[in-house]
């Protein structure tokens, strides 16, 4: 059976399962549509939360980010798990006790203000829409690579599946599908990881493989030391290299943590459990299921990095990369085991170019070659310019005159100096060593593996490690499960903000339950159409918008919820102005470096560490926005009237678990 048929069978079977669940779990009431009737057991809710949370970014992109970013990108591992501690301790149990359906609803009731509720709706929609684009792009990429359809067709199939279970099943349909999707995605992620860990370290558990010893090298060298040796030899930063900007690393981690705790589609998952104590334990179960993937991810990333490097430098498997020759173009084009390079080349996510025409692809750090290459190019140019200038100056002059002889002598001396400078520059370039050979000896001066997109690392991993075809098919189904489950959760958050907070909460408070349910379904359908459209026409900034989504969740929703629970004194004015301050500050900071509304070329400052304020990257600005939100809310509340009695009673009531009933729609 060929790979395509296998992919089709495995992905088709997983889709049939999701549709089957959708038919079985239809929602009949708003309580079922928004909160699955509050009857989801904590362990199952934990599993659904894990699938809801782990998106295309976690499944497809994260290991690739770690593979190429090494220790520095541990921010994703700590940030995207540490947020659950904040959720369990600071938000989930109290919001479950509050017993309503949406995040803006709590903010509206606690700060006794429709304005506060609408500001929360705006933040929620911006966060969720930017996030859903990434999922749709992930679905398109996976389909295009594994099912050989166009990205457009792939996206439309994906949207149709989400439509089926999200519109009819609401939170109930989504929850049970997410449980199935979790099982598919975790199997797909861990099976190849186990195989690869066995190949490289002899350890069955990838978590132990990461800190184990490197098996093909005889077992004397630690796996991480081997990886560091290979990548530094090629001029790349060591995988375990320490961070160069500790403040920024701390802030990005914190931004991802509090951003996670403030993401509306994650918070609402804790509205679905029967009791307050279930909300606490459910966050723990969610993290158990998330940790299964997150503790494996660094092993997947680091092992994929070593495998892709040794594919291009076969001698690096046992010794130095330069003990042998680089991979030949002929092999890339003909070797059946390297079909993955040809397949990914078609998608444009991997590119190679035999720049020096030696028939081999040298994968090496362009950054380390760049300095010397530029020096020698500059020296050559200066020499040519000087010769041209000297040629022009001598025209029409009597060369025998004493003045001309002096000038000519000076010109000759200057030329000799320039020639020497050029020779020195070229010698400096050639003296840069990789392994124990100089660039001059190696005979090349460019990285010929032009592009390796982070996103291909997980998807190509089984093929790079030469694993059987069914594993490859499983990874395709896993990538789709991760993207679809998160998309469904986000779409539900968007649709309930529209039907429950906007229509029932602000425009038409007397709407009947059936009427609201109809609106929930209409807005869900509308959100899917919008998400599909944005997925087909991605604004080309999928990576940047993640910074915005987490930054905004960190700077707006998280502080508002936390102050609403932990303070009785923060009032309407404080909360509204605090959220607006967080929203404006964070988005303006991000737009300054990444372009106004992400329109390319409109950024007012270059997005480089040197230009960042205190070295804080746009991805790390969330906590500063959150701090501003806290300060503004506190100062404004102290200067204005305390909240009314019934609000203080509401705060007192959410702090006590007893009396958490079924959620009500009012």
């Amino acid at each position: 059976m060929d790979q395509f048929t296998l992919n089709l069978i495995v992905v088709g079977a997983s889709f049939a399962l999701y549709i089957g669940i959708a038919i079985w779990a239809r929602a009949g009431s708003t309580a079922e549509f928004y909160a699955a009737g509050q009857g989801v057991p904590p362990v199952m809710n934990g599993m659904a939360t894990a699938a809801d949370w782990m998106s295309a970014a976690s499944f497809i992109s994260m290991a690739g980010l770690i593979a190429f970013g090494g220790y520095n990108n541990s921010v994703f591992l700590m940030g995207w798990t540490g947020g659950y501690v904040l959720l369990a301790l600071l938000l989930a149990p109290y919001l479950r006790k509050f017993g309503k359906f949406t995040v803006p609803e709590f903010i509206g009731d606690r700060f006794y203000s429709t304005t506060a509720r609408l500001v929360a709706v705006i933040c929620l929609i911006v966060i969720s829409v930017t996030y859903v684009i990434g999922q749709m792009v992930g679905v398109g990429v996976t389909f295009a690579r594994f099912l050989e359809v166009s990205t457009t067709t792939g996206l439309l199939i994906g949207s149709a599946i989400v439509f089926a279970y999200a519109v009819f099943g609401g939170m109930k349909g989504i929850t049970y599908t997410q449980v199935a999707q979790y099982i598919v995605l975790i199997t797909a992620y861990t099976i190849p990881a186990i195989f690869i860990s066995l190949q490289l370290t002899g350890n069955f558990l990838p978590q132990l493989g990461l800190i184990g010893s490197y098996a093909p090298g005889g077992g004397d060298v630690a796996f991480l030391d081997k990886l560091d040796q290979v990548v530094t030899e090629l001029g790349f930063a060591a995988y375990t290299a320490d961070t160069t900007n500790m403040l920024n690393m701390l802030l990005v981690t914190l931004s991802l943590m509090i951003g996670t705790a403030g993401l509306p589609h994650v918070i609402v998952r804790f509205f679905t459990v029967p009791k307050v104590s279930d909300a606490r334990i459910s966050a723990g179960w969610a993290l158990v299921f998330i940790a299964l993937l997150y503790t494996v991810a660094p092993a997947v990333g680091s092992m994929a990095r070593l495998n892709i490097t040794t594919t291009f430098w076969p001698a690096a498997v046992t010794g130095s990369a330069f003990d042998g020759e680089a991979l030949s173009v002929e092999q890339i084009q003909n070797d059946p085991e390297l079909a993955w390079i040809r397949n990914w080349e078609k998608t444009g996510l991997l590119k190679y170019d035999d720049k020096n025409g030696d028939g081999r692809i040298q994968y090496i750090s362009e950054a380390r070659l760049a300095g010397p290459n530029k020096a020698s190019a500059d020296a050559t140019k200066a020499l040519t310019d000087a010769m041209t200038a000297a040629g022009l100056a001598t025209e029409g002059v009597d060369l025998a005159s004493p003045a001309a002889v002096t000038v000519n002598g000076a010109v000759d001396a200057a030329l000799a100096d320039l020639q020497k400078a050029r020779a020195d520059a070229i010698a400096a370039r050639d003296a840069v060593t990789f392994g124990n050979k100089t660039v001059g000896e190696l005979g090349f001066s460019a990285n010929e593996l032009v592009t390796v997109n982070n996103d291909i690392m997980v998807l190509a991993n089984p093929e790079i490690a030469k694993l059987p075809g069914w594993v490859v098919a499983l990874v395709a189904a896993g990538g789709l499960a991760a993207a679809l489950s998160t998309a469904a959760g986000l779409l539900l958050a968007i649709s309930s903000a529209i039907s429950h907070d906007l229509i029932k909460g602000a425009i038409k408070p007397d709407i009947s339950e059936q009427g609201e349910l109809l609106w929930a379904r209409i807005s869900m359908a509308g959100a899917i159409v919008l998400a599909t459209y944005l997925g087909l026409n991605p604004p080309g900034f999928a990576a940047q918008v993640v910074a915005l989504a987490f930054g905004l969740a960190a700077a707006t929703i998280f502080p508002a919820l936390m102050m609403g629970i932990f303070s009785k004194r923060i009032n309407m004015q404080g909360a509204v102005l605090g959220m607006l301050a967080g929203l404006v500050f964070t988005s303006v900071y991000i737009f300054l470096y990444l372009g106004w509304f992400f329109i390319p070329g409109t950024n007012m400052l270059p997005n480089t560490p040197a230009a960042h304020w205190l070295g804080i990257s746009p991805a790390g600005i969330g906590p500063v926005g959150a701090l501003l939100n806290f300060v503004v809310a506190y100062v404004v509340s102290m200067m204005t009237q305390a909240p009314p009695r019934q609000v203080v009673e509401l705060v007192e009531s959410v702090r006590i678990p007893r009396g958490a009933g079924k959620a009500t729609g009012h």
Partner: protein, 94 residues
């Protein structure tokens, strides 16, 4: 009747305040652990602890890529357990 109601309410209020104070104390301790295992051991103290190794990795690196996640897990379950006990002590469980 009116007086007893007032007394009960006041007793309730005192008990509710004590419950909340106990909760805040548990949260604070948990957040200290949360901070130390990730920001502390994983980032700030990594250079200082580079001599200690966990298998083939240094301690700070291991905490950043794996260890902190295990601590987070233990932390949430310990908090849930401790709070269930506290709920029963104050008679506010469901």
């Amino acid at each position: 009747m009116k007086v007893t109601q007032g007394v009960t309410l006041m007793a309730d209020q005192t008990s509710a305040n004590a419950y909340w104070a106990a909760n805040i104390r548990i949260i604070t301790i948990s957040l200290v652990v949360w901070f130390v295992c990730s920001f502390g051991l994983g980032i700030i103290l990594r250079p200082a602890l580079s001599g200690i190794s966990v298998g083939g990795a240094d301690l700070g690196f291991w905490f950043a890529q794996n260890g902190s996640i295990y601590v987070f897990l233990i932390l949430i379950f310990a908090y849930a357990r401790r709070m269930n006990k506290l709920d029963r002590e104050f008679g506010v469980e469901e």
